[in-house]
Amino acid sequence: MSGTLTGQSMIDFRKQYFADERDDNLNEIGKPTRRQDITGHVTGRSPFYDDHLFEGLLHMRCARSPHHAARIRRIDTTAAERMPGVVRVLTGKDVPRSRCSTSASTTSRCFRPSACATAASRWPR
């Protein structure tokens, strides 16, 4: 690895080039090394998506049709709206031109939610 264009060894070149990064003297190669995030994992401190809790956080649940290609005549949301903590119930009427969010068409698709409810609690009762 020695003998480069500038006459310095590759290691010296790398040291100079990456001078602002951590000391890389290549002594990790060939040895087992610890992951840098492992301490957080084993102490439960690594933040995952679900760990970012903040004031005003709302949770959303989607209701999907239990039947594929069935005709949606109507969606009755009154019971969902009455549940304590529920902030808003969305159906296809709220997003008339969206094709990828709640279904506004008259034909249900199992993979496409027919209605969504947002609530202050993940488990509204």
């Binding site: 610890r34 301490t39 084993v42 102490t43 609690s121 488990w123």
Partner: protein, 157 residues
């Protein structure tokens, strides 16, 4: 929504907080008490990511009613190795027994319950103890090896 006061011990520390009606222990620990180390995986007792110890026994926090921990001892991964790393934590770090790390707190609690009641577990005992904890990064072998290491004192204390 009625609130109910609950006093219990969390990782050796006395705690008092209010639970909502029918709130499960996982939601109570995470939102009510602020201990984020038990993880919400499935919410229906399938994955084991929310495993905590109740008086030393492993329980799925998502299936336990929060008010039932009144006066009991709750242990979570956040309480492991408060002074120096627990043998299990050392072994998990040495053995590369985590990839994404989401199952790790639950795995640690199941493993701790096993080692507390059986300090010399066989490979089969270990597999049985973590049978309720799913790891989707397919890391079971390093996890089993790490628990074996911790039991045999191979991991640095």
């Amino acid at each position: 929504m009625a609130l109910k006061p609950v006093t219990f011990t969390l990782n050796g520390e006395a705690k008092a907080a209010f639970t909502e009606d029918g709130q499960n222990l996982l939601d109570f620990l995470r939102r009510g008490v602020g201990d984020l180390s038990p993880k919400y995986g499935c919410g229906q007792g399938t994955c084991g990511a929310c495993t905590v110890l109740l008086d030393g026994e492993p329980h799925l926090a998502c299936l336990v009613l929060a008010e039932t921990v009144e006066g009991r001892k709750v242990e979570t991964a956040a309480g492991l190795g408060q002074v120096r790393p627990h043998a299990l934590q050392e072994a998990f770090m040495e053995r590369f027994a985590a990839q994404c790390g989401y199952c790790t707190p639950g795995m640690l609690m199941s493993a701790k319950a096993l080692l507390d009641r059986n300090p010399r577990p066989s490979r089969e005992d270990i597999i049985e103890a973590i049978a309720g904890n799913l790891c989707r990064c397919t890391g079971y072998e390093p996890i089993i090896a790490a628990i074996q290491d911790a039991a045999e004192g191979r991991a640095r204390p």
